[in-house]
């Protein structure tokens, strides 16, 4: 009988007591030449462990910037970013890379698989950063492929897979290190409606059955509907939306007030 989780607890390695994501008064300003361009201003966000949060907003609103800050790919100009209890805004670049490899699973708009490697080898790439034995690596790859429903397709190259299957392999790669947070940047942006539905079903199942905390950036209201909560980002500020897309509560009060 095959396994369908990496550890004994299906909820993964997330911090149960604390908020999974605690963004406190964060600002991020870029510079175009000498001109400062503020993208996020005094933004506060709390995301609970096991939550599936969709982040919407128009292009240039700062969704990806916020995602990058939470995933440890970028640093805030001001404020604090605490993920899984770790104040990641204080970590050095090297430590941040190690932290990402252990705690964050990335799903991108395009699956971005390495064309010369089979699906299972693509899934195994993050395991290069671990000290797992070959057997344990094999086990984890098998489980990840099983979770995304591609156990039989592990030997296939990306070009031999459909767009949806490629995205599933990308999700398996994101899962293989059993991260506490899945960060998805437009995961259905490159897929047709039916395939998008399958990928969203998979994300929902990962959240519901495997306890994965998911932060998903999307332009698609249909995709956002599948999340347990949707936030709207505009002009560098957050607001909570109802399932009909209307803004119901501004989310820039002190931590916890908006949830």
């Amino acid at each position: 009988m095959s396994e369908t989780s990496f550890s004994d607890t299906a909820a993964g390695n997330g911090a149960a007591a604390e908020a999974m994501v605690d963004v406190r008064s964060v600002s991020r300003t870029f510079h175009r030449g000498r001109t400062p361009v503020p993208v996020l201003k005094d933004l506060t966000l709390r995301m609970e462990n096991g939550e599936f949060l969709a982040l919407m907003g128009p292009s240039g609103s700062g969704k990806s910037t916020l995602l990058n800050l939470i995933a440890g790919l970028d640093r805030p100009t001001g404020g604090e970013v605490i993920v899984g209890g770790s104040p990641i805004h204080r970590l050095s670049e090297r430590k941040l890379a190690g932290w990402r490899s252990r705690n964050i699973g990335f799903v991108f708009q395009f699956s971005n698989l390495l064309g010369a490697l089979s699906a299972e080898r693509n899934v195994a790439v993050p395991l290069l950063l671990t000290s797992f034995s070959a057997r344990e690596r094999r086990r984890r790859v098998d489980i990840a492929l099983e979770i995304v429903g591609l156990s039989e397709r592990g030997k296939h190259r990306p070009r031999e897979l459909s767009g949806g299957e490629q995205q599933r392999v990308g999700i398996a790669r994101a899962l293989v290190n059993d991260p506490m947070l899945l960060v998805c940047d437009e995961p259905t942006g490159d897929l047709d409606r039916a395939t998008s539905g399958e990928i969203l079903d998979l994300l929902v199942a990962l959240n519901r059955d495997h306890g994965k905390t998911i932060l998903m950036v999307t332009h698609d209201p249909v995709a956002a509907e599948r999340a347990s909560r949707t936030l709207h980002l505009e002009d560098g500020r957050l607001a909570e939306c109802g399932h009909d897309g209307t803004v119901v509560v501004p989310v820039h009060e002190p931590a916890g007030a908006a949830v």
Binding site: A97, R100, N112, R121, L127
Partner: protein, 386 residues
């Protein structure tokens, strides 16, 4: 799966480009191997020269003659153990293209002077018994299809026989010599000096040059100077030098081979730096998104830099190794085929090691800038290129 899987995947990404770059590097190292072989062939005389042997020639040129009586005078000089003479004969066997070195020698003295030459005792005896007897190197005998006992006619270009006009000299091949030193010239044809001296139409008692064995190689410059001093202000002044310096000077008559070879190799490797460097730079430029992905997954900047550097070193070193293997293969084919013309044509182990070292160094130099670029990429910016 290891980091090498990622390197291999990166190299297989654009197979045609990788193949072309790989082939150019293979070819460059093949050229390196061949030029190294040629350089060895030309410099072998100097390399295998004995430190305890001096060459004494006419001060003006190698082709000016010296009195044979100098031999006895030189043997009187302190530090000189033994002396013997040789003379450039310069004859033609059948066709000028069959060029090989011929010289009259005194058999016993010659064999004493060159212990590295191996001649069967029976052949030595026959040589001493046979006035027109000659011995020849194994490579020459095989090249011209001779057998012991054959009559070898050699047409004179300098040394005609008294009263016989342009008639060929006729020698009897009494033995074949081998050598126990790699690269020793096995293309010489050596015959008896007494036979030559009596029969030649002019120049009796004159010889081309002397080989002098000395007791202490450290005193070579001092003894060479003493020899030259002895014959100073005589009708035939001498120039003495070590056998190695003499051989090097002889090889350099073709040109400064070291400089020529180095110049060609510099041009070849400069081109390789450009070709492989361009490939690596292009490869990294095309993979910015992919590199961003690796960094997002947790690969540190240093690790990404190392991956790109290893990719470059793998590409160039593998190609360089293959080029050197092909050069060794070529040597295996050329060496027996050209042994009669280039007795020292072989690839020395130190040249093989130098080639492999060059391959690693070239790989590092080619990869360093693309690797640094990959290292410095900002992850978030790089991911936008996905």
């Amino acid at each position: 799966m290891s980091s090498f899987t990622l390197i291999s995947a990166a190299l297989r990404r654009k197979k045609t480009r990788t193949f072309l770059t790989f082939s150019s590097v293979v070819f460059a190292f093949l050229i390196f191997g061949v030029l190294s072989m040629l350089q060895t062939a030309f410099s072998m005389g100097a390399e295998i020269a004995n430190e305890d042997r001096l060459v004494v020639r006419h001060r003006v040129s190698l082709f000016q003659l010296l009195p044979q009586s100098y031999e006895a005078d030189m043997e009187e000089i302190p530090g000189v153990v033994d002396a013997m003479h040789m003379t450039w004969f310069g004859g033609v066997y059948q066709d000028p293209s069959n060029f090989f070195m011929q010289s009259p020698v005194e058999p016993a003295e010659y064999l004493d002077m060159y212990p590295e030459i191996l001649v069967p005792d029976e052949a030595k005896l026959r040589w001493i018994e046979t006035r027109n007897g000659a011995i020849a190197g194994r490579a020459l005998v095989e090249r011209l299809g001779w057998e012991v006992g054959d009559r070898i006619p050699i047409q004179p270009t300098i040394w005609r026989q008294a009263g016989r006009g342009d008639d060929a000299w006729e020698f009897e091949l009494v033995g074949v010599y081998d050598a126990d030193v790699e690269g020793f010239d096995q293309t010489q044809f050596l015959f008896r000096y007494d036979f030559f001296d009596e029969a030649r139409s002019f120049g009796r008692g004159q010889v081309g040059w002397f080989m002098v064995r000395i007791a202490d190689p450290d005193r070579a410059p001092e003894i060479a100077a003493a020899i030259d001093d002895t014959f100073q202000n005589s009708a035939a002044e001498t120039k003495s030098e070590s056998e190695g310096a003499f051989a090097a000077g002889f090889a350099n008559q073709v040109g400064n081979l070291g400089l020529i070879v180095t110049s060609i190799l510099a041009a070849v490797f400069f081109t390789i730096l450009l070709v492989a460097g361009n490939t690596m730079a292009q490869s990294v430029r095309e993979r910015i998104g992919e590199i961003g992905l690796l960094k997002a997954l947790g690969f540190t900047s240093t690790r990404v830099q190392r991956l790109v550097l290893m990719e470059s070193v793998t590409l160039v070193t593998t190609a360089g190794f293959l080029g050197m293997v092909l050069a060794v293969g070529l040597e295996r084919v050329l060496r027996p085929a050209l042994a009669a013309y280039f007795p020292g044509l072989f690839l020395r182990p130190e040249d093989l090691l130098l080639g492999l070292g060059l391959a690693v160094a070239t790989g590092l130099v080619v990869g360093i800038f693309p690797a640094r670029r990959a290292m410095r990429l900002e992850t978030a910016l790089a991911l936008r290129r996905l």
